[in-house]
Structure formats: structure tokens, C-alpha cells
Symmetry: C2
Subunit: 312 residues, 2 copies
């Protein structure tokens, strides 16, 4: 199969490229290299089944040319602004990079008859909700522009799928961790501790608690759901059952960096920044019944991610 990965040089996209190449698929990775990095895919450069195109999906005319020149069987649409903390200051970032990139990619699928579309959605669409999140949960009132961009994307994917007989898979990611991450709590802690190994600033009260999924578990889940489900429209939460508190992540990072007696300074409040959902839990019955379970628990995933990022 010939597969387009948007955001293909990014943290998750580049792992997906590795996986699909290992399964002997032909992969075209498109990325504007804003958050993605050439280093993430440099090892694929000589692979005849891999092609990288530096392009911004906001340029729909260039994107149309890419679709014209390549006869894609499947699109994995991962491109998005993934730095929620940053986009909180400017809603245009998620309008463009999270939503319009989706619309442009969908429109190309419609125009060039590509009828398999896999979408990297997010727990952020659910907003700030205490109860366990099933795929059918409503209402959907996101509290971040990022969550809004992902929900808006889901809405248009649903309409495009119905109107153009496109088969769609909505995969709602939890927090994802692992090597090549460009931001997020682990990345931040390591960076701060490299600057100053004596103290660590922690946003909020450290009690924010989320499920963290190891990136390779996520990639397997995405492909598993894509292969196992045959409906026109498919929607799955992907994650792990446990959660890891931010203060626990700090402890693991300090341990793995061999640092003792680090002073932890909490900025206070129950959220890291405005738009941050302080805790969520997925109901994973649907994907478990399909036959997939994560290899690593949330806290294991965090430890593995820290080790990989540290080059251990």
C-alpha cells in the first residue's frame, strides 16, 4: 500500500513511518518541520519505500500536487499543533495547524478519491470531565483551542466520510510519551534539570493525573484498529488504565537522571496552565474487546520514555 503520513517527521509520525516501512508499505511523509525534525527520519532516507516532502499542509495547492503525483491508498493524518501550552496564547495556531490542516487533507482525499482516512484525535475533545470517558460520551465541550481543533476535525471527517464514501478511523490518543518527543512534561523536566540539577519547577500542584501511553504501543494500536475494523466509520479510545501523577513523573525523571535531593517547586493550583485538563480516565472496553491491550502501564511507559530520551 502507498500511505501518506501527514506530520511524518514528527514525534509520533516518524515512529509510524518506521512501523509501516517495517511492514513493507510505501510511505510518503509530509511535514513542515515546525515541530517535526529531519533527525527523526534521517535513518529512512535511503529506503526506497520512503519519501519525505517538506510542505506545510496549509498550502492546499501544493498538497493537491502531492496527491496528484502520488496515488495514495491510505492517509494517516497526524499533522497538528501538538504544543497545547503554547497555542493557549494564540487561537490561530490551532485553527490553522490542528483544524485547517485536517480540512485541507480531507478535501484532497475527496478530490483525488482516497477513501481510507485515519485520524489522530485526542482526549482533549472531551473537555474537563470527571467520569470515565467512553467513545460515546457527550456533550463535547473542549476547554482548549487544541481540543476544539480536534473536535472540529472529527466533525468534518464524519461529514466527509458520509458524503464521499470515505472509510474513516478516529483514534483518540491519551498523553503519548517516548523518544523523539519535542515537548510535554517529561521533555520539560529533563530540560529543566539539565539546566539546573538542584531544583525543578513543577507547573500546578503536581497532582494532575493522566494515562501515559508509550509511543510504540500507540502505533501498534492504531494499525491494529485500522486492520481489525471494517465499518465505514470507526472511533476508538486508545490508552492505558492507570494514570501517573505529575509529581510521580518528576520522581522518575530525577531517579533516572541519578539526581538526589532535587528541590521540587510547585507553582500551585490544580492545573499546569489554562486549557490543561488536570485529570482524565478512558473507558477502554471497546479496544480491549477488539483484542488490543497496551504492553506497558502508564507509569512503566513514563519510565521507558525517560530512559529512551536520556539515551539509556
Amino acid at each position: 500500500m502507498k500511505i501518506l503520513i501527514t506530520g511524518g517527521a514528527g514525534f509520533i509520525g516518524s515512529h509510524l513511518a518506521d512501523f509501516l516501512i517495517s511492514k513493507k508499505h510505501e510511505v510518503v511523509a509530509v511535514d513542515n518541520l515546525l515541530l517535526g525534525r529531519k533527525e527523526n527520519i534521517i535513518h529512512l532516507a535511503d529506503n526506497k519505500n520512503f519519501k519525505f516532502i517538506k510542505e506545510d499542509l496549509m498550502n492546499i495547492n501544493e498538497l493537491k500536487e502531492i496527491f496528484q503525483e502520488n496515488d495514495f491508498d491510505v492517509v494517516f493524518h497526524l499533522a497538528a499543533n501538538s504544543d497545547i501550552q503554547n497555542s493557549a496564547k494564540n487561537p490561530q495556531i490551532d485553527l490553522n495547524n490542528t483544524f485547517m490542516t485536517t480540512w485541507n487533507t480531507l478535501e484532497c482525499c475527496r478530490l483525488f478519491n482516497v477513501n481510507k482516512f485515519i485520524f489522530a484525535s485526542s482526549s482533549a475533545i472531551y473537555g474537563d470531565v470527571q467520569e470515565k470517558l467512553t467513545e460515546n460520551f457527550g456533550p463535547l465541550f473542549p476547554i482548549s483551542y487544541y481540543g476544539a481543533g480536534k473536535l472540529a476535525s472529527e466533525g468534518f471527517i464524519s461529514a466527509y466520510a458520509y458524503m464521499n464514501d470515505i472509510q474513516a478511523w478516529i483514534i483518540r490518543f491519551p498523553n503519548v510519551v517516548g523518544e523523539r518527543a519535542t515537548h510535554g512534561v517529561i521533555h520539560d523536566f529533563i530540560k529543566k534539570l539539565r539546566n539546573n540539577p538542584n531544583e525543578l519547577e513543577i507547573l500546578g500542584d503536581g497532582k494532575q493525573k493522566k494515562p501515559y501511553l508509550y509511543v510504540k504501543d500507540l502505533i501498534e494500536a492504531m494499525f491494529f484498529v485500522y486492520q481489525k475494523t471494517k465499518y465505514r466509520f470507526n472511533c476508538y479510545n486508545v490508552g492505558v488504565e492507570d494514570q501517573t501523577a505529575v509529581s510521580e513523573i518528576a520522581k522518575i525523571v530525577c531517579e533516572e537522571m541519578g539526581l538526589r535531593n532535587v528541590r521540587l517547586n510547585y507553582t500551585g493550583g490544580n492545573i499546569g496552565w489554562k486549557g490543561d485538563v488536570p485529570q482524565f480516565k478512558y473507558n477502554l472496553d471497546k479496544i480491549h474487546q477488539l483484542g488490543w491491550k497496551a504492553k506497558y502501564s502508564s507509569t512503566e511507559a513514563v519510565r521507558i520514555a525517560v530512559r529512551r530520551i536520556l539515551g539509556k
Copy 2:
């Protein structure tokens, strides 16, 4: 209060302008006159509390000037593509006219500190669902670009409201009928029968069944919800409990036009066009408990609308 009505020369917007003017508010109506009409507001032209500005909300810079020059207290955002049947052919119509108009208006509210935002949402966000629709229903998988544009709008309103302390009211409309309508089944039937009073083409099998709300009932409901609810974020279905079948509407139109023995030609299939939701029912407990009920049932609303459109 100084109130902006987007889509203020349209079918519903112009009725809202009448209502708010009657309550002694100052109203600025903005409309690109694509679906709206000057005739709808001509009677307000000499009212010192009313101002009309012909502008397309897609031009955010002009919209910013309008916000700069007017110190709005409240925005009623009604502007949208409302011709779902037409936009089915071109998804760009709902991207621009249903969604981007919302985003631009929200962005102006953020920039100019307008913190009350009332939104004309739609049953179309729910997709094609058999069960009674409560406000908390999920998942939300719309089947029309119009429904997607409304859901995308809700998502961003939710995020903007949270991030910028804007108070928001999401009012989910059913089918709305009455004088000044520019399209829809009643309008179509009257137009067709004026062309040819001997036969009437009906899209689908005539069994599509929806709740129709008389426009003046809707306007009162919107204002009632806005006045009675004080949360930061408020979401209400507005409608009537009964439904009217399309074949019943055809019968009423023929009766009111004094036409007998009209041959009804059904195009067949259970939907009027691709993207049409053939039936839906609202659960209205939430708005009923707040103290509002429609004056007219669905079938009464249809008959009144037919009479008004015929100038009776």
C-alpha cells in the same frame, strides 16, 4: 444593551432584530445579503436604535473595524450557510460560511472584550440518530458539512468561552419555519406549485419527519434562555415535541393554496438528499424545566408558516 446580530437581515436574524428592537435594545445587524435580504429589515431603516451594515464575516479585518467602532454588550451569532442542500455539493461553503464566520466573530469577541455570545446551533450536529436527542448526547458524528460546521463552531465557542471568560449560550435549533424563509421544504413546495399547480415533486418518500418550530416561538425561546440562565456555558435544545412528515406538509401547502387533485411525485428513497437527516426527535426536558414551551405544535407551525408566506 448594544447587540450585534450576525446574519441580521436573514430569515431568523431579521425576526430577532424586530424582537430586540421592540424590547428597546440597540441593534447592529451585519449581513452579506447572500441569503439575507434588505426587504426583511427595510421597515427598521428609520429606527434610531437599528443599524444595518452590509459586510461578509469572512473579512475579519472589516469585522474588527465594526467591533472597534461599536461597543457591543452581546453578540447573537446567527450568520451561516443555511442551505444544506446546496452546500452538499461544495464543502467549502460550510467551511467558510458556517464555521469560519463563527471563528472570526469569536476572535473579535476575544480581541474587543465582548463577553456574551449566543450561538444558533442545530440538530444537525447530532448526525443521523434514532433515539431522542438530549443535550448530553454523544457521540457527535454529523453527516452533513453544515452539521460539521456547526459542531466545529460549538467546539471553538466552548474553548473560547473557557479561555477568555466569555459567557456562552448554545441554542440548538430544530427546523424553523415562518415568513421571510428563503428556502426549505415549505418554500420549495410553494415555489413549485406556483410554477405548476397540477403536480408536486417531493424529494424522498415523503416520510421524512421532523419537528418544525415557528420562527417567533424560536426567537422567544432564544431570548428566554439567554435571560434565565447564568452559567458560564449553557446549552439547550429548542423545539417542539411532535414531528410533521414531508407528505403532511405537502397536503397543508396544497390546502392553503386552494389546490385540489395535485399529483404528488415522490423521487423515492428515505432521504431528500445526501446529508439530509430523515427524522429526529428532541428531548426538551431541559428547556421545559426552565419554563419555556412552544406556543405552536410542529404541524400548527407549518400551517401558520404556509399562511404567512402566502400573505394570508
